[in-house]
Amino acid sequence: MFLPFDYQSPKSLKECLKLISENENAHILAGGTDLIVNIRSGKIIPQLVVDIKNISELSDIKKTDNYIEIGSLTTMNQITKSSLLKGAYYLLSYAASIMGCYEIRNRATIGGNIINASPGAETLNPLVVLSAKVVLESTSGQRILSIEEFVCGPNKTEIKKNELLTKILIPIVNEEADGVYMRRQRVKGMDLASVNCAIFITNKSDIKKRKIKISFGTVTPKPYRPIKVEQLLENNKITKNLILESVKIINSEINPRTTSLRASPEYKKFMIEYFLVEGLKKILGEINVN
């Protein structure tokens, strides 16, 4: 590995923000499970690497009045084990628990997973359906964006050069709610998702008040929310015809790339119906779709 660049490891957030505001070409190093691989392969040639792993204030999960706050340096295994991410939020810790392998989950951070913004990123779909927000801090203050606004496409987000992703906010749901995360991969062990999906439903037993959020991964460059389908499923009894209509709408809106190494567009489109039926069944109990 060719190492011409500078390396800094600030101990506090303030020091880090100053450093990245003064150096436009800084690359942030957190868990390193993406950056170190990319530097070695020559994909990224940084001038300065800022190692944020020592900023301890960024690596815990806590509950405030309105949100569950997850520090951007929280590792996948910390998320898996967290007692705050149970019940309705379990889909996020489940997604974290199947990301990469055990050794990787001990290093990989949620912030890195978001910023890297892989189309099949494990945590993105659960975060989208949980209406999560990201907190971006710089020397001039902070901005809060919804995860849907924040992620633009593979490796692309709305983050500015002088900003650091510090926290992920998950709104606390007071109503009855439940969610599910599903993925398909080529092998049972360690693999990236070929296609994945998250569904989150609030007020599930009251058809009039029911709210449904759905997000699919790898079918468009960023997490895809079929808003028309959500509305269609929200206040109607779920029947086979409704599912078929939903699949039709989704397939007319998505355009999976043909060059994907993991699954063909046909397979991804085929999986949409399976995910919809299985996901809704898991949350709502038995539904009659035959």
Binding site: Y7, S9, G32, I36, V49, I104
Partner: protein, 168 residues
Amino acid sequence: MKKKITFYLNNEKVVVKCHPLKTLLKVLREDLNHTEVKNGCEQGECGACTVIIEDEDKKSFATNSCLVAIGQVEGKKIVTIKGLNKEKELHPIQKSFIDEGAVQCGFCTPGLILVTKSLLDNNPNPTDEEIKYAISGNLCRCTGYIKIFAAIKKAIKLVKKIRNSKKI
């Protein structure tokens, strides 16, 4: 740009002078001659380079040393397979791997033994599913995993026996 980095390798203090972004794997193999840490894929797929890292709050976890920048281990404790046995006496996990014939070419063995140790430290009674889940990041191209799995099952019993005898 070189930096002095101090850490503890198998309970011995070591000081290296190198670029802080050189990977822990390269430092161990090239600068410190610890070639028991194997270099497989260098991108976190194969698990051959697994080491155990213990941080300041005594939390220890197995991870891929090819993905850790040496600057990130300042002050931390690293355990490689060499740090597992006490002088000539093998660790019970090492013994079980030998007894069950779970070693063929041996390239994946250091990683598998360390990930097993990390698993048993955190969970002394793992289920079959939990064992499979824990070793899913370690590839073995010889054994087909059956013997490795048997060795881990044996190691669980052995470790438990030793722990119980120490209690008395």
